[in-house]
């Protein structure tokens, strides 16, 4: 007889994915046979590590003493006054070592790679934040590291390219396609196919074949878990709204997942609207795409009527991706999370507002989340609370922003 599921799991939105790595109809393992055995090996190794108190303790120790967790929860008082509505709190993951939430996931995956006895690390990167975080962990543990980065991104994120090189990583510029995150991921997959024996692929977002979307979400969920406790301490209750930007969706999944069953909390994901959804030049997969298969999973994608993938556009290299993690596609279809978009220009305005009112230079990625917050907050009552994931700092973006403001550095 089948064991009945405990009621909590039955009613929970947090129990996914299925054994096949599905969130509803999304997710799965759509990779070439050459990769299938290693993908299954990662799945098994992660399942064991997840249950192993030793692994969890090791991860927690490194997050505390190396990454610098917990990150603070900050009441953005001047910004709140300026917007004239709901109280705005920032979850300050930009204060992590390496300057973004990417460190949470990289630490988890490199500990897993070591546990599996892998001796070489590869990664893809868009903004360069995941590449820097990966290169950092590789320096820490003395593992050789190759990072694939689109040629366009190499240009617009030059400081991060230099950082990776200083950290000892080899940065390979990818010229196929538009030379952005999608192309970097293709090339990283090609490297992995040729080097499965010794290589571990640290994927930087909640995409890729199962178990990656689940595993990366688990490693990032520390964001939402901490925020929940911190919000209780600060306000004695849950926030009314939680907002995060979405490239592949890892910082958003990390913030949202611990709140999925708290139905009083509105969850809002902000995609990159580029030049505007109506122009077709954007990176809003849920708003402007339809389901398909890319990079190992079934999810919403920007594609033409013949199933060819369309290049995304965003001012932010980290959001410039034509897909989105499969769990988001599911949360979109069941209506648990709302997905909206913010344009390049709205993000630039928010970038400056944050800098001037709070003294925090945000990355262009969370500036998209903030752009939506600036619209939402004034429509809410003063006793309502918005929690926003400030998932990265903007030092890497000052050249891009200067160029848009017509300033020569």
């Amino acid at each position: 007889m089948n064991q009945p599921l405990p009621p909590a799991a039955l009613n929970s939105l947090r129990s996914g994915p299925s054994d096949r790595g599905r969130f509803g109809e999304f997710g799965g393992r759509f990779v070439a046979e050459t990769l299938m055995p290693i993908v299954l090996a990662v799945e098994q190794a992660y399942a064991e590590a997840k249950k192993d108190p030793q692994f969890q303790a090791d991860l927690a120790w490194h997050l505390t003493h190396y990454v610098g967790r917990p990150s603070p929860l900050w009441f953005a008082e001047r910004l709140t006054k300026r917007l004239g509505g709901a109280k705005v709190y920032f979850k300050r993951d930009e204060l992590n070592h390496t300057g973004s939430h990417k460190a949470n996931n990289c630490m988890g995956q490199i500990l897993l790679a070591r546990r599996m006895g892998k001796t070489r690390i590869i990664a893809e990167t868009g903004a360069g934040q995941h590449g820097v975080a990966t290169a950092t962990m590789c320096a820490l543990f003395g593992l050789p590291c190759t990072v694939y980065m689109g040629a366009t991104d190499v240009e617009r994120q030059a400081p991060n390219v230099f950082r990776m090189k200083l950290l000892g990583a080899e940065v390979k510029a990818v010229t196929s396609g538009a030379g952005t995150l999608k192309d970097a991921m293709n090339e990283a997959m090609r490297d992995w196919v040729a080097n499965v024996e010794d290589t571990f692929y640290i994927i930087g977002t909640v995409a890729g074949p199962h178990p990656y979307p689940m595993m990366v979400r688990d490693f990032q969920s520390v964001i939402g878990e901490e925020a929940k406790v911190q919000m209780q301490a600060a306000e004695g209750r849950l926030p009314d709204v939680a907002v995060a930007c979405i490239g592949g969706g890892s910082n958003a999944m990390g913030l949202f997942h611990p709140f999925l069953d708290d139905t009083s909390v509105r969850l809002i994901g902000v995609e990159a609207g580029g030049h505007g959804i109506e122009t077709g030049q954007h990176a809003a997969s849920l708003t402007g795409g339809r389901p398909g298969v890319l990079h190992g999973n079934r999810t919403y994608l920007l594609q033409d009527e013949d199933g060819q993938i369309i290049e995304a556009h965003s001012i932010s290299a980290g959001l410039d991706y034509p897909g989105i993690g499969p769990e988001h596609s599911w949360l979109h279809d069941i209506g648990r999370v709302e997905y909206v978009s913010a344009t390049d220009n709205e993000a630039l305005d928010a970038f400056q507002l944050c800098t001037q009112t709070e003294g925090i230079i945000p990355a262009l990625e969370p500036a998209h989340a903030l752009a939506y917050v600036t619209k939402l907050a004034p429509t809410l009552d003063k006793d309502q609370i918005i929690l926003m994931n400030l998932c990265g700092r903007g030092d890497k973006d000052i050249f891009t922003v200067a160029a848009h403001l017509g300033v020569k550095l």
Partner: protein, 272 residues
């Protein structure tokens, strides 16, 4: 008997292995790739593989990536590839055609409709690179219902425990990816092939084709002897790519050059 089974039976009766040349649909344009397809049987192709261009061919190296891009720039659509096969079948009822591609364009077309239309057009088999056995239920029932062989890839990383699982529900032939890597990069050694093929034979009676890294007549001869057929792709596409003008159009004589190369490979598998 299916065209694929009939062809492998005939090859066996002849006492030789087969040659499976590959062409990318609409590389560099519809007319050129149609002419190439038409000319392949007379040049000695025993079966033919047609690549379906995709924007993100994750298992392919630079040579096939570029071919796919040329096809897409020329305006290829999934339905035009089926049109090519329909056109080919007007004068050739015997040479098996296998489509090789990635899942998303097929998913977008509709898995059931794709298999129905492909079956009617005269497609005999399909290989979907990013559809492993674990996800095969998406296509398998439709392929079977329309008489299309669902050909599986086996890789050096597919161990003995996994092998029967991978081959479960496969038909036509088994495609052995002879290297751990992408297309157009390395070639497997004779020793690797000599060890790998018997390992697969233990698990299946289906014919085995070797692909990835087969470039020369000598390599094709060896692969078709160790296994039952050899697939040659990147080497042929390289010839095509070397004879395009600045606008990416085929220069006069390009098709003939590629067909001459097919003929040399065919001589190889015939031991001439």
């Amino acid at each position: 008997m299916s065209r694929i089974a009939a062809r492998f039976a005939a090859l066996k009766a002849d006492g030789r292995g087969g040659l499976i040349p590959f062409l990318e649909a609409w590389d560099p344009d519809g007319a050129t790739s149609m002419a190439l397809l038409r000319g392949m049987p007379a040049a000695g192709a025993d079966l033919i593989e047609i690549g379906m261009p995709f924007t993100d061919p994750m298992a392919d190296g630079p040579i096939i990536q570029a071919a796919a891009r040329r096809g897409l720039i020329a305006g290829v659509k999934v339905r035009f590839i089926l049109d090519m096969v329909r056109e080919f079948r007007k004068d050739d009822q015997a040479t098996p055609i296998i489509l090789m591609g990635y899942l998303n364009p097929i998913l977008s077309y509709g898995p059931q409709k794709f298999c129905e239309d492909a079956g009617q057009a005269g497609v005999d088999g399909m290989i979907i690179v990013d559809l492993p056995t674990e996800e095969a239920d998406l296509m398998l029932p439709h392929a079977t219902a329309n008489g299309i062989d669902f050909i599986r890839l086996v890789a050096p990383t597919t161990d003995d425990v996994r092998l029967p699982h991978v081959l479960n529900g496969s038909s036509g032939f088994v495609y052995y990816v002879s290297i751990t890597g992408i297309t157009g990069t390395r070639s497997a050694s004779s020793a690797d092939l000599a060890a790998a093929i018997p390992r697969i034979r233990k698990v299946t009676d289906l014919p085995i084709a070797i692909g990835f890294g087969v470039r020369t007549p000598a390599q094709a001869a060896e692969a078709s002897k160790v296994a039952d057929a050899a697939v040659v792709a990147s080497a042929l596409i390289e010839t095509m790519a070397a004879h395009l003008d600045e606008d990416g159009k085929a220069k006069p004589g390009t098709v003939e050059l590629v067909l001459a190369q097919v003929r040399a490979l065919a001589d190889g598998v015939r031991g001439r």
